[in-house]
Symmetry: C2
Subunit: 341 residues, 2 copies
């Protein structure tokens, strides 16, 4: 029988996690003091600003334990934080993991979750340096604070988009929503990891390397990750930059697996692309004459598709969709809202 | 009727909190970018290390909503994080607040909780710079990551206690446990804020200023706050420092309100002092010839009682209690353990 938290206790679990991080995690010289004191102690690198982000996921709201393995859950929770640092052009460095867990949770599951964190952090030379453990209510939660570093000249905000700028998007936003829908319909037995959009939902990629590489060109005017869905996140850029956007349906990346999943779900792939979906792709704005350069930098890192899907306009807060038949629709930027259902 | 989260929504609530922090919070020049982008952006001060701590409190486990006002809850949640930074000799600077809330929560309550955060942060020239909002399960949670700064030479760890060092403790650990017990017995109608130990539980003080002042002397060999109860936390020092401790019952700070509360509860004040209790007092070790200096520095900051309650021994992991009748008892350092019940 596998050990559970209620039997090893909080301090037993801390010891186990500590050993695991020592054996399988990255040891950073900047960490003067990690887990095991009142606070972790870090030495910031001169010349860098710190980027600090925090994202929590709650059982039953952001993930379904019956459809995701503890290791993938760990990866996913870390990926969404890494994505936020990457969308500002930064490098993730130090993570604090705060877990709210149930007493009946197997210790092995918690260790696997930490392996998932390290799957994402180790290749980026980043590490878990602290955190907190507590008992949750009926739903477990994973709350991660991630600290990154960025050179002031490299940092990209949401607020720099200018009228006339091109709007680019990586990958296929909407895949994650399609994957979730397939999981929720429970059409496939077990966890259908072989289904590409289900995989996109359960094992999303962040674009932190890509975000940083293009930020370093100095030509990205605004950037954000698509964690609230494409229009929701583009809406955040428009709002912060006091601009609007014109989007071209004909250029949307609706092909490939998204299209196939839409057929399977009897959904319109356009709706999936424009709906709420927690992919971790990048929305990028830059002046028209830098589009090719940005695409070239992205291509140098791997075969990630990039689509130019529209342009920034001066019509503050207005997002217009130009359909294939040239009719114009107003788009309402709705993102995930955790309190409205 | 008061507005609730389900009607204003996540983004509406973020706007409200953002305005509140702008109007009533401290604006820090080191914050290049606060709430409203993917990550907050901070400029660390040259010559300082960063201290990063993270503590979550869960409704029904760490607090009872019916016995604490939202503003006091905010204070309490922030105090326990400030206490961790102070116990290392640092200054709190930047807080990230991650809230798991229920849809029926009044917006006003959330605003009051933020006022509680600011009650604690503003006087220390610290600010909330980011965070996360999500919907919780049956229990709300408040998870705070606090970033502080400390000069490398000032930082005090748990691991520096040496055999022969004096063990000092501030205030009256155990009061908080007594206050909680009175609340749980529900003997007093409403929230009996006038009861000193109930007040100690609901509105604890941190000793961050004191911790920093004595750390700056360079003579504190180890320090920790008493969030797990006095023996539990002293046990952390012993374990990290590879030492033991000898404690003198006759010198324990069992007087004042703790004594009166013990009588009222028909409890032994010694048990309250030695039990689990989340006060945020300091346990300090220093060499015998520095005790007076440390006491003098503490006295210069206000009328905080300090008791010399024992000494560090070389008997690794052994904590011995010398009773008033000179008999010797072994003490088991048990702290709060969230998974054992």
């Amino acid at each position: 029988m596998s050990e559970i938290l209620a039997t090893v206790g909080e301090f037993g679990l801390i010891d186990r996690i500590h050993s695991l991080l020592r054996e399988e995690g990255i040891q950073l010289p900047e960490v003067a003091l990690g887990i095991g004191d009142d606070a972790a102690c870090l030495t910031p690198r001169p010349g860098y600003e710190l980027l600090v982000t925090c994202d929590a996921i709650v059982e039953g709201r952001h993930y379904l334990p019956e459809t995701i393995s503890p290791r993938d859950l760990g990866r996913r929770a870390m990926t969404l934080n890494i994505s936020d640092i990457g969308a500002m052009g930064g490098m993730p460095r130090f993570a604090l993991v705060s877990l709210g867990l149930k007493g009946e949770t197997p210790v092995h599951d918690v260790e696997d979750m930490y392996r998932g964190f390290m799957d994402e952090l180790n290749p980026l030379d980043a590490a878990v340096v602290g955190g907190n453990l507590t008992k949750s209510g009926d739903r477990a939660f994973i709350d991660i604070t991630l600290i990154g570093e960025v050179e002031p000249v490299t940092r990209v905000c949401r607020s720099g988009a200018r009228p006339g700028d091109a709007i680019l998007v990586t990958g296929y936003p909407g895949q994650s929503a399609a994957g979730l829908e397939i999981l929720l319909k429970g059409k496939c037995p077990g966890i259908p990891m072989e289904h590409p959009v289900v995989r996109a939902y359960l094992r999303p990629f962040h674009r932190a390397r890509e975000g940083r590489a293009i930020a370093k060109t100095g030509y990205v005017t605004a950037m954000i990750d698509t964690s609230d869905g494409f229009p929701g996140d583009l809406g955040h850029i428009c709002r912060s930059s006091c601009v609007g956007a014109e989007l071209w349906e004909a250029k949307f990346p609706l092909g490939g697996e998204l299209q196939r999943a839409a057929l399977e779900l009897k959904r319109d792939s356009l709706d999936l692309f424009l709906g709420e979906s927690d992919d971790y792709e990048l929305i990028i704005t830059c002046s028209q004459d830098r589009v090719n350069l940005i695409k070239k930098v992205l291509a140098s890192l791997g075969p990630l598709p990039v689509s130019e899907v529209g342009k920034i306009t001066q019509n503050e807060g207005e997002m217009v969709l130009i359909r294939k038949n040239e009719s114009r629709d107003k788009l309402t930027p709705m993102g995930w809202d955790h309190f409205r259902e």
